[in-house]
Symmetry: C2
Subunit: 420 residues, 2 copies
Amino acid sequence: MLQQRSSLLASSLASTFRRSFLVQTSSSAQRCRRAYSIHADASVGTKILDIDPSKLSIEKTTTPKTLLPPEELVFGRNFTDHMLSMEWTASEGWLPARITPYQNLSLDPATCVFHYAFEAFEGMKAYRDKNGQIRLFRPDKNMERFNKSAARIALPTFDSDALIDLIGKFVKLDQRFIPEARGYSLYLRPTIIGTQRTLGVGPPASALLYVIASPVGPYYPTGFKAVSLEATDYAVRAWPGGVGDKKLGANYAPCIVPQIQAASRGFHQNLWLFGEEEYVTEVGTMNLFAAIKNKETGQKELLTAPLDGTILEGVTRDSVLGLARERLEPEGWKVNERKFTMQEVSDASDEGRLLEIFGSGTAAVVSPVRKISWKGRLVECGLEDNQEAGPIAQQMKDWMEEIQYGDEGSEDHHWSHKIL
Amino acid sequence: MLQQRSSLLASSLASTFRRSFLVQTSSSAQRCRRAYSIHADASVGTKILDIDPSKLSIEKTTTPKTLLPPEELVFGRNFTDHMLSMEWTASEGWLPARITPYQNLSLDPATCVFHYAFEAFEGMKAYRDKNGQIRLFRPDKNMERFNKSAARIALPTFDSDALIDLIGKFVKLDQRFIPEARGYSLYLRPTIIGTQRTLGVGPPASALLYVIASPVGPYYPTGFKAVSLEATDYAVRAWPGGVGDKKLGANYAPCIVPQIQAASRGFHQNLWLFGEEEYVTEVGTMNLFAAIKNKETGQKELLTAPLDGTILEGVTRDSVLGLARERLEPEGWKVNERKFTMQEVSDASDEGRLLEIFGSGTAAVVSPVRKISWKGRLVECGLEDNQEAGPIAQQMKDWMEEIQYGDEGSEDHHWSHKIL
């Protein structure tokens, strides 16, 4: 039995898995006790529970917040009245979820999240459509990634549909915080942290999953503003065999100093290259797309780095690719997930073949790029001086928002998840 | 002025620095506001304070804990009566330090430590010598690394001597928790976390530094027990240009699953290799040493991986190297910080030239290795079946403990810092 569980765990590194990890963690904790000083409460044979939305309890706030005027909203600074949270222990599994007033977490200073970065998160949004219906955008993709991230750092996994159900109830309760206007939404931050209160380095025997929500305005309130990037050649964000493809806290703090450095030289974000070949991977906290005319054939190609383990598996990235395959390929475009180098981008720019470059992410949807500082020169990225976005970036933003806001003709798009 | 600060910041990546970063962070925060949605309270021109030990306030517990019997002590599970903590803000610098009863931290769920792994820590010990004198072991080395770790993730730095002074006062207050017996000590865990309460990804405008203390017993209560390692070939701990040489939380959570996997196959720890060459880097959470007879010259060599940015700059590693250079080289040994491969280790084992292998770290001091699983075979590491440690591991442990516990002849060793 233990053998079987261990091989399940082994396969978990390579693929998505869900409930099984609950059992693995508890049995592994038992088995590792001697080697790693885990001191888990894990007990093999105890019934391990997955999330059960029917057990949700709700404690409403008695001091509802005053809504901010939409124009004063700042990303991730103000939160709604409530939060959703649920505890997990290795011996019991997921305990009943609770919606409570938004409140501080009280944690022992030895809690493992403070020392060993046992933390993973997601970023997703709830939108209000023209009929007042609230919609999530591809929450299944977020939950799939959330599970993968948690598993990679020995935190528990869960049933995705159950968590989407609970998030829906939470959003519905706090729906007055979702502004009505186009471009506004409720940013949702599912977070999971290890809560074991010992300093031994091992799999946490307890965890807390919580979701908080912050109303946000449009990333570009007055229309697109193209950004400038600095290619970072002295620091590396991710590498093969590492965890750069997971949405772990561990991938973020180390990126700040390169961002500060790029900013100190007047650039909005840094661009992460990889290897001697200087492959283009990601920009700041977004994936990156380049629209280039093929040198030989003249065909228009939409390029982005492949999911080789070194870039984040962006939901917006996946959506841009899906829309491009569905709607640009019939127009003659080639959509290509492949490695491409900064030299290729630079050559295309020099030869007038670089059509446009844009980042993709939940916050901005798409973020057009004007120029990239690389090896002491500035690579122009296809925009005219008076132009703030290329046609593909603009098109992608429009297509995506039509689905996110359930516009006419997109009311029933399968990427839009209505909260009932 | 801003230009000057930016270049200070640029140079900070490459070298140690201290107070200057306080100013840099605040000015950078100002400059980055638009690019990164930092929303810091930073105000250029405000006087930034470093740690001032004279401002320490002490609130003693009214409910002192009962001491555990020494044999029941488990690493990092039980803590002393008090904790040392101090807050930092980008606008004010370090606020007065406080010693308070050990207590939970109360933090907003949006606090950046939970999302982006703004956290770094140290591990060090306080020892009680035969005269009751309390001693720290090379605290200056820990503080130097702590500053480097904090700076790498845009957390504030501080005056090392001031923090050592405060740690001394804290340890003295809780000295009844340091057991008298040899092998026992008080494990100290200085920790720094980002405390900004917003989800924007940027340098934290506030932080909390705290120190907690856990009485611990000897790592090997009944004498050395040699461990078995599994060489990990499917996951990579660190990368050139990454942060693997800093003591960041970010380096720990991603290491657990490979540890669990090694344990599931019966090994105590995993061994981290690097690159196609399979360079030997670290073991679990320790540095690694190999004692090998040179194939050509027959000279005994003590090898360990160099500080190339991919291994932790262990204080125990540095101490083993220092003692080896001082005391083994006169006996004909060659002490060598260089890259070496698993193939070299395996060849030396096959040819009877592998004398011994041991890990080094604060918890165990040294940890002898019996065998390493690599490419489907077991590499024997020089120990006889009835032998739990090689002579160099044993010698190093003895030398180190003589200094740590201020034994006769080592009372005034410059690595031993007496708390007055």
